[in-house]
């Protein structure tokens, strides 16, 4: 009986959390995931658009309040600006972490974003990757590659069993937390493969390859 009431209360109270608060949680999660995962994750376009739109409005609000020159609103202004800076920090750090990954493995992500039309990169990131890569390869060509034999000039040679395209190490160990019961994942032990059950609230040290799908589904977050 008590459980029933609790369920009803939960279903009533859950939607009352404003979307802005939920977006802050989602943005923070996106940032932490991107900072800790060895691989680039897909770009949450609607989320970033909403956050940027609100940031722009908040800046306008702050400018309005500054214009009124009311001494009482000084402190409000300090709070609004502090919060704005915190948001800007998360967004900036998030985007910079993504650029760092793109810079580290440009050819890999270019191949990925070309082979399948995914939401992996934002249009701006796509543009950055293409033009940066074009600059780099023309620089390499003019400075030393042109003097090499024709067969050694490629930067993304995959023949001969060894690929020149560097891939992120998918087996890197990551710390993660299960947000929902996420089923079992495989753990490669030294002598045998075992399955472990991920239950809500559990904290684990696991290989990225084992939890990647669950992270993309939103069942697991990295910490």
């Amino acid at each position: 009986m008590d459980d029933d009431i609790q369920d009803i209360l939960n279903s009533v109270s859950a939607p009352s959390i404003p979307q802005r608060t939920r977006d802050l949680q989602a943005l923070t999660r996106a940032w932490v995931n991107e900072r800790t995962s060895p691989e680039l994750l897909s770009y949450p376009t609607p989320l970033i658009e909403r956050v940027m739109e609100r940031t722009k409005k908040q800046i306008e609000t702050i400018e309005d309040i500054t214009g009124t020159l009311d001494p009482r609103s000084n402190f409000t202004l300090v709070i609004l600006q502090t919060e704005l800076e915190r948001f800007k920090f998360i967004v900036r750090s998030y985007l910079r972490a993504r650029i760092a990954k793109i810079d580290a493995r440009p050819l890999h992500y270019r191949a990925l974003s070309q082979s399948e039309p995914t939401t992996l990169l934002s249009p701006l990131e796509q543009q950055y990757l293409q033009s940066h890569q074009a600059l780099l390869s023309s620089h390499y060509n003019s400075s030393f590659l042109a003097t090499f034999p024709q067969s050694l000039q490629k930067l993304d040679d995959t023949s001969g069993g060894v690929s020149m395209v560097d891939k992120p190490d998918e087996e890197t160990a990551v710390f993660c937390r299960a947000l929902r019961d996420a089923g079992s994942v495989e753990v490669m032990g030294e002598t045998a493969t075992t399955d472990v059950e991920l239950q809500r609230g559990d904290l684990w040290l696991l290989r990225w390859s084992a939890v990647k799908d669950a992270v993309v589904r939103g069942d697991v977050e990295l910490v």
Binding site: L24, R35, L47, F75, L80, A173, L179, R180, L203, V223
Partner: protein
Amino acid sequence: MALPLPPGLTASEVGFLCEMEFVTVIPRQRLDGLELLGGPTQPLKPPFPTPLPLWLALLLKKQKRANISPPPWLSVEGLSHILDFETDTRTAEVFSPSQALPPPMGTRRGYEDYLDAEIVDFSPPFLPKSSTTGAQAEALPYHWLEVGHLLLTHAADDFDDAEGVRRLLRDLREVRMSKLRKGFKVLDAGAGVKLNGVGAMEIAEVRGFVGGVVDGLRKINRSREESRKEREAEDRENGLGGGSYQEDDDDMQL
């Protein structure tokens, strides 16, 4: 500009995250509710306790506009109880439990739901009741060390016995750190270690070491792992999955 930091949150980033924890403030001045980017705040009316994010509470505290009432676990009684649990020989292997989670938000639907704000599940530091006065007294939240440190540094006069709390917090940290170090014996190339109850700052502290050990061992053992994988795949194809046959095989290899 690309971020020059290696993967994994640094201590200062964890500190930044912990400032989003909610704490209970007792306002000394009126302040209207504010429309913040992270959601509206409740209006402050002295002397009614109000939950606010830690960064805002500290801002108010520094300007002497509010007092912060420490969460129940951050008290001499709460911490002594947790310390007893941590040092008890019967529970020597485990960490003290973390704060209870709120009920889940929604059910998952499919792949496109990653970060969907409609069903996003809340996790630390956004749990509504892990550092407010409504928190459990005998469980540590994920950001216990950072919240404790910040409150003791900036709001020491709001504690009944700040010195006692500080001492207990330091003891607790040492006990848990040595426990965590002992736990590293089980590390192997496969990872797969359960860390329930370990805090954010503790993870940040050991991340480099643990990650290095696990990844290093994996690289050393790569050939063995690959041959085992192949053998297992073969076994599955032949319908001989597991059993004594496989164990014999392992022995021979060693």
